[in-house]
Symmetry: C2
Subunit: 151 residues, 2 copies
């Protein structure tokens, strides 16, 4: 019964791509690999690239990598700038991730550029791709997106 | 008239996401920034990340970067391993790109991991995202995708 309630709650959470993305970053913050994996589509070709890492295809290899990343706990990660392309049944999000970690030299901040792709499935909006790569050492990349560059 | 024929030919080329992707890599090989840009969707939020580069949002900034990359000519680039997730009106391709260049030390080979996202539009299948990041120095990343990892 508790399990059924959990499933209903999860489906409700994933009624939009934005909900699924919010749940994705919450799962990373909470170090909850199980919840994180529940957000992925049930498709053999779902794929994930972590910064500097190889391409991981399929839920099995994606799970192994996230469990390794989260085994020391949740990440201090915040999506700070999201740009979206919306299609029928598909949503592409470009996220600037701010990642902070305490080191011997104090609190360090790094930026990661991530492309997250969601598709609408019978189980709600699910993640089908997460491609992350190292950003600039600060948030300078934001300037390049200014409208003034385009016109 | 010639222009109309060109547009008809382009639309025919983009009747599937695979066609659009083939045209994308041909344009890179031929150093044809104009053709390459014709493959992108007409949407302010289309985005592109080159390996190690910032996030580029919108056709204007994407064009500037591709023109800079291609100003010395086409790239020796080959998609060597493509995995796809297909949705209604959306296609997500994970491409291992083999890039070769002649240097003072002979022919050098590098691998790039790219996520390409296409959406079906009134003008055919168009690119909405290209996120590329450095791969491993060889094609070792392929081993990680083996089915044996998953089961």
């Amino acid at each position: 019964m508790a399990d059924a309630r959990t499933k209903v709650a999860q489906a409700a959470l994933m009624s939009t791509a934005q909900d699924t993305e919010a749940a994705f970053y919450e799962a990373l913050q909470q170090g909850d690999a199980e919840r994180l994996m529940s957000l992925w589509a049930d498709d053999d070709e779902v794929a994930c690239v972590h910064p500097g890492g190889p391409r991981l295809v399929g839920q099995g290899s994606i799970r192994v990598a996230f469990e390794a990343i989260l085994q020391v706990g949740g990440l201090n990660i915040t999506p700070v700038n999201v740009r979206c392309v919306e299609g029928p049944g598909c949503s592409v999000h470009h996220v600037l991730e701010k990642v902070q970690a305490m080191t011997d030299e104090g609190l360090q901040t790094a930026y990661v550029l991530a492309t997250n792709v969601y598709m609408r499935t019978a189980q709600g909006w699910r993640m089908v791709a997460h491609h992350a790569s190292p950003g600039q050492p600060d948030d300078m990349q934001e300037m390049i997106e200014a409208k003034s560059v385009l016109h």
